[in-house]
Symmetry: C2
Amino acid sequence: MKIGELGQTTGVEVETIRYYEKVGILPTPARTAGNYRHYGNQHVDRLNFVRRCRSLDMKLDEIRVLLQFRDTPESNCGKVNQLLDEHIGHVGERIAALTQLEQDLRKLRRQCHKVQKVKDCGILAEIAQAANRIGGRVGKSHIAGAH
Amino acid sequence: MKIGELGQTTGVEVETIRYYEKVGILPTPARTAGNYRHYGNQHVDRLNFVRRCRSLDMKLDEIRVLLQFRDTPESNCGKVNQLLDEHIGHVGERIAALTQLEQDLRKLRRQCHKVQKVKDCGILAEIAQAANRIGGRVGKSHIAGAH
DNA sequence: TGGAAACCTTGAAGCCGCTACAGTGTCAAG
DNA sequence: CTTGACACTGTAGCGGCTTCAAGGTTTCCA
């Protein structure tokens, strides 16, 4: 099948498939006479595997590792378990950090209950104050974005 | 003060300060005879404000909006409240998504209890199966990375 | 058979919020 | 007067795509 059909079958955008090839997640496929990429069922399986891993929020680096194990069925799977445990750990840390963040934000939100002049708004005042309280002391947080 | 001192005072890296200037978060400061950026206390306050917002995981776009309100004390703060509410909403969604993800990962982890051959490992088998079950149906998830 | 439409190709640039260079200039201390 | 710490500009890189430009190939229909 051609790249468009592979995309249809797996629900992955064509550009993403080419990107996966470029970064070594998918092998370079055979080409037709007209230089079109030509795929088979093994590509569908592999791409579905990748997609499932991405839906579990794994990085491409982690997925590369898992694919390597998938490609060597006689090797032992201890590292797979370890990788997954670490990943679960990261997710747990993130949940904790975001939960703390949510509390901070709700507390901040309580500083302003009505629409008023900006200069009287408790939210902006509180941000400014907190900013100066922590001035110079905070390193980078280990949580990533919420967007 | 020079940029290095501003960085020290606020705990922000010099490159980040220049970056903030480039993207319009900080105003272009005065320059010394030797073309060094020259800052005052108002810059410290503004940068601290920005940093506090970042520690609350706001995007630079959102921070730009808040700064604009901060700069016009007579305007009304309804939009500030709204921005914050939306931000809290995003964080809440993320927590929910990550919590679901954590459950999925723990369930997956239970598929393999010991170190064995990859070909018998329940985890890789489960990923492959789940991948084909969902094949072609899933759009992109709204959760971002856990790393 | 011809011509349009749908598909495919490569390569580069853009997104976010920095971070890390390279190559040069300025300034203060000893 | 030299050394070293700081400052300057500009560019490239991170991840995981997404989007675009400028073309080549195939397919379909009249």
